[in-house]
Symmetry: C2
Subunit: 313 residues, 2 copies
């Protein structure tokens, strides 16, 4: 099966000047001679946690496996260059899948390849295994800083404005499969503005924000009435049995994969006024010297906010 | 659990000048400014295929997960620099493990860390997940060519001698856990000699040799009486129910992780005569213009050899 997949990929992967040695040798070689720092990230997505194989189109699963990694590179302001794809495929006779593993691998790649091409990311290699277990996909992604300063979580300053791309909440309805990793937005921002800090929202706005605060040793005041709530958050909230308001969904739903950004008041104002990204960008709060998360509503009521979101086991 | 592990790793990982940004941000950053090409490889090892969790010391499993990747870098003549470690840990209440996942992760790292230190490899980050499935470990490793020419599988020439490090066969008894990835040997060889081709033996001597031949469009004559057979191959052959001779074990057992090398007759002779590696190196054959694998015994009998070894599903 692995041999068959390697033959398929060797034929179907687009060539790239960046790839000096591709799939089929003991390792791949990427041209890094004209690049500087190497930004690396790795995310594994698994059946029953990040998707339900029985219910989902494998193309969307493959797409998501790549997109979550591109989102991490965007959160560092890195230019994506290449990825390594490792697949753990359920055997035909296991209870974990009804699809032939080679067919499943092809469908996963049919989701990975178009997104890789869209962002000019080379698939440098990987590892493919069949086993008597559920589907898991691990992608390791490489990016380059190209002389730019990476956006680290620890650099938010008291006084900085908090900005967010896109709209938040209700990702489970479809966005967790279909989201746009904010690569182009990050590259556009890094070129035009000074950003103190960035992070992608993978576990929920309030929880991920608490992580920036912890790393930067600052607090935050969230302008809750400014938070851009998605249509899906509103729709989810209307569903039977749903216990949460649209705002609560926006505050604590995971997998929005939008960028949280900190910038000085001057820079933040320039960013909002320039309005030249392909998605909305909204000012939703202020970083403060005082530690802790607080919400501020339209009547300037200030209340303590408990960070909530998806907690990894 | 993941948070707890990140805290543990942040405290216990040795610092490195190569690591500009380590565990805890969206991505890690390695200093690649003084390096050239980026060599990347990724190997996933899984319960029931590469080890039996119920029977094995998790330290040895962790060690193996790293060692197989270092072996791939050695096979390219690359200097290992860093790795990304992704763990898929069985939940406490799953049927796949009796160990608490945090405890299991620590034990795996107790096997990974000493080997990483031994080869001066920085652990740049990773991803840790618990799930209701068996243990799997994916490591992606980065190496640098440092101006040297990589050893590609496609460059064996008719007339080249075939060399192999160490001894072969019977790895299942213990070597598959305890083998020395031939990193130092590869770096020493690349500095002193011109090597045409190299590959590490992961699936068996005859099967992996057939892959070099396919990639290089050459054949090979194996001097079967010269093949360095390990004590473990002999021991395995003596066991009840074992159907194979020691030579057959050496020819087809997987996971020896020794280096197969091709070099011109002059270079090969220099290598054998210099005898300055920390392991044996043996001349075991000749690459030929005529395609196919043939064995030659002491009486110069030439017979067709069918490549055999571990075939990935």
């Amino acid at each position: 099966m692995e041999r068959q997949l390697i033959d398929y990929l060797t034929k179907h992967l687009p060539s790239s000047d960046d790839l000096l040695v591709g799939i089929g040798d003991d390792a791949a070689i990427l041209d890094w001679r004209t690049r500087d720092d190497l930004v690396v990230t790795s995310d594994m997505i698994t059946d029953q946690i990040d998707f339900i194989l029985a219910d989902a189109d494998p193309k969307l699963i493959g797409r998501k496996a790549l997109a979550v990694n591109l989102s991490d590179l965007a959160a560092m302001a890195a230019q994506p260059v290449g990825v390594i794809v490792s697949l753990l495929l359920p055997s035909t006779h296991s209870k974990f899948s009804s699809i032939d593993p080679y067919e499943l691998a092809l469908q996963l790649y049919q989701g990975i390849l178009p997104l890789a091409q869209q962002y000019d990311v080379v698939i440098a290699g990987g590892d493919t295994n069949c086993w008597n277990g559920p589907l898991a996909i691990n992608i390791t992604a490489f990016g380059a800083m190209q002389g730019n300063i990476p956006w680290l979580r620890c650099n938010a300053q008291a006084g900085d404005h908090l900005l967010v791309t896109g709209t938040l909440g209700g990702s489970i309805l479809k966005k967790h499969f279909e989201f746009t990793p904010r690569v182009n937005e990050a590259l556009s921002l890094r070129q035009q503005f000074n950003i103190s800090t960035a992070m992608d929202i993978s576990d929920g706005l309030s929880l991920d924000l608490s992580r920036i605060c912890r790393a930067s040793k600052v607090g935050v005041e969230l302008l809750v009435d400014q938070i851009p709530i998605s249509v899906d958050a509103q729709q989810l909230s209307l569903q039977d049995k749903d216990q949460l308001s649209p705002l609560e969904h926006a505050l604590q739903d995971g997998e929005d994969f939008e960028l949280l950004l900190a910038a000085s008041p001057t820079e933040a104002t320039r960013i909002i006024e320039s309005n030249n990204l392909s998605c909305p960008i909204t000012h939703i709060g202020y970083f403060t010297k005082e530690l802790g998360l607080y919400s501020i509503d339209t009547e300037s009521q200030r209340s303590k906010l408990v960070p909530q979101g998806f907690v990894h086991q």
